[in-house]
Amino acid sequence: MPASARSRPEDIVENLSSGDTSARLKALRDVKNQIIGNRSKKLCYIKLGAVPRVAEILASDTETNLLVQSAAAVGSFACGIDSGVRAVLDSGCLPHLLNTLSNGDERVVEAGARSLRMIFQTQLAPQGATFFRSGGALENILRLLASANDDISEVAASVLARCCDFPEQRAAIAQAGALQGLLHLLTHPNPRKVETALDAIASLTRNDEQQSRALLNAPGNPFLTVIIPTVKERSGKSRLLACACVANISRTCPEYGTERTTGPPGSARDVAAAVISALVKLVDCPGEAGEEAPSVLAHFIADSEDLQKLACDADAIGKLSGKLAAGSGVLTPRHRENIFHALAALCSTREEGRRQLVESRALLPVISGLEDAAPGVRAAACACTKSLSRSVKNLRTSLVDASIAEPLFKLLGDPDPSVQATASATLCNIVLDFSPLRSQVVLDGGGVAQLASLAHSMDATLRLNAVWALKNLLFMADSATKARVMREVGYPTLAALAQDPEDGVQEQALMLVRNLVHGKPEDIEAAVRPETGLLEVVDRKLASGARPEVCVQALYVMVNVATGTEEHKERVMATCTPSVLGRFLADESNPQIRVAAVWVLINLTYSKGGNVRSRIERLRRLGLDAQLHKLLSDPCSDVQDRAKTALEQFHEALQPLPQPSVQMVSAHIC
């Protein structure tokens, strides 16, 4: 039909709505044949409004040819360009495409299924939700899974693979019996069928304990006999997907993880080694398999130090760094993101991994990744720096040399909250007292100001990380640093954080106060002046029965305040704390709480004079010395020792021992 090329696109589009069936068919074929493979033609016809007209044919015509051609045209519009996918989705033709799956003519089913696959391959697809709204569609897809036609069953599996985003969806798919159908496909001689089935199984089991266990214990042992051998054979994509299945099971089923570490040779332990080796080799594989391999590797080793070691021994870091060194320009953003995530996992717990990463010269690409245009890449590069910053050595050397502080500060103000979260978590480590970067943070007041403003964030993780970082910044800090930080944070904010709806934030805020009141009496005075209201807030925590972790921190604030002047000790005495201390001394569930409570008594009764006798008298009246006597036989030796010291002070208050007062501070690696 060479003449068709001459017709104007406008006329062809007009004919799509012609009353004459053969004219409609011809117009459809013309559109389809012009747009397939041709981006500019797709854009042209989308502009002319062809998509809604094609969708209309799909919705209202019944003739096989028209349905086949319209389904094919819709699929082509959705292939390769986002605006095409959007036009197709906006046209509302998805339910009609789903209807084609139950058509009596296999050609219609095949064309419809192919189109659906095109749509579900894109990121814009409404991820499976449609299936659960459209009655019977899921059942239809499962029926197609068993189709003798390779194309159809493959399409069904790949649609299923894109419908596994939410636990309810996975449960519905599993309940309809999909796993059996998919496992059956695994034994098919056609490698593409096996690949799509693996894809669906991997999606179904990802982060899903129930589905992972169903796969692990499926009758006939297909996990052992089919999936695991696939790790070593077949196409790159199949190897990757088989590895992903093993990773999913390993992450969600604890019994499999146990078998991995303690099982005999030939068991899960060897499988893990094979999977790691396959994944590391796949890093060099061209195409999707190579791009996704680092992501599967990161997922697999995330929680396991022994797997991280296995991967490092297989030179994963060298391979991944090599990819980065080849120039990040040639890698897609997704590829860079995956590599950074893998590197972050590889050096999350092991110092050896961190050393390898620094030595493989991957640090520069990581630092420049912090300024990448794609938010996912920035977050992943930041995760790398977080892992690296867990090393004291790196904090003192390589990270300083790489001038990491500045790009990190920038990320605190990143538009993407997940980037901000990782950046603030990294800063927690950067500001530890042994890190030369701390002074940089303090001197360049901008960092403190940013952390202070993050402490107001609506996002609980950001608040947590910001307070955590500020707490670490104040660990063993001098008076000037404390004053500087509090100028930015403000006492009302700190008081509010100590009463945050999230327990974790409360705990960190109280640790911050604890660090603030550690040191000279001036430091204590600045924080517990009545105007700040801080002591009152801390006291209320203890009186109101907050959670044990929060109470421990609140008690240590009192411990530190009681190291101050006579006046400070009397201020502690004036709170409700002495009257509730008995409850904490008798708390059998938590030795840490008992230790903290005894420390309060030690510091209140340690003195070279002043009011100490009066304080001891008041504490005795509360029955606390009797409770201390009971603690001499405490199961926890630390409690015993401290109680002994406290009692000695109770008895020898007239002739005080030259004992140093004890102060408590707190810092944590994040």
Binding site: M1, I36, G37, A72, C79, R114, D150, N190
Partner: protein
């Protein structure tokens, strides 16, 4: 036979060799599958049908798809590229939608056919409308496009530096690329297995030559064993 012990190479005589060969059991079904694989991949539908009847071996794919594939292939070979495009789109729209290089080569072939039939104006229009946007998307395509359009610049194309494009072998090249893409879309290997087995035979004999003297196969068509030297 039986050379002296002084010889550096071990010699295996014909009798011994044939005995060893007959010890290797190859299942008849496997041989038949190999033949069927060749017939299907190369597109010999009639022969495949007859062979199926005779041997009982099932072809790996529906034989009707071979017919479709051969029609598409023939269309390109006879210069009806547009026809081939429509047919392959009917077969499976994903083939050309997901394979920009193949799509470009088919469009290029269409341009060549227009030039061959002397439709200069149509050829220019087609190059500008259909091919130029592909050239913008991909630098390699642009170079190939420039070479093709150069055909229009020569009066005597047969003696031009780009004469190869008008050669029948160019059609064969495009047809084979399309054929391979269709086979891949049907999850079938692009090439039959038999030729690679023959390649392995030749390689194995060359390796063996360095160590032993044995009855070699030099005539691959008849597979006759030559006496060892």
């Amino acid at each position: 036979m039986g050379k002296g012990e002084s010889s550096s190479k071990k010699v295996i005589g014909r009798e011994d060799w044939e005995k060893r060969l007959s010890d290797v059991k190859i299942r008849k079904e496997d041989m038949n599958k190999l033949v069927m694989n060749y017939l299907v991949t190369e597109g010999y539908v009639d022969a495949a049908e007859k062979f199926q009847l005779e041997s009982g071996v099932k072809p790996e794919i529906d034989l009707s798809t071979i017919t479709d594939r051969m029609t598409v292939r023939k269309a390109v070979q006879s210069g009806n590229v547009e026809d081939a495009l429509e047919k392959v789109n009917d077969l499976n729209p994903e083939i050309l939608d997901t394979n920009p290089q193949l799509f470009f080569h088919l469009q290029q072939q269409r341009l060549i056919e227009l030039i061959r039939s002397g439709k200069v104006e149509e050829a220019l229009e087609f190059a500008q409308e259909e091919l130029a946007p592909r050239g913008e998307e991909n630098h390699q395509f642009l170079e190939e496009l420039e070479r093709t359009v150069a055909l229009l610049a020569f009066e005597d194309t047969a003696n031009s530096p780009v004469s190869d494009l008008l050669d029948i072998s160019q059609r064969q090249k495009t047809a084979s690329e399309l054929n391979a893409a269709i086979l891949t879309s049907q999850s079938h290997e692009k090439d039959p297995r038999l030729p690679s087995l023959l390649k392995m035979l030749v390689w194995a004999q060359n390796q063996l030559d360095e160590k032993v003297s044995y009855p070699r196969i030099n005539d691959l068509v008849n597979a006759t064993l030559e006496d060892p030297v």
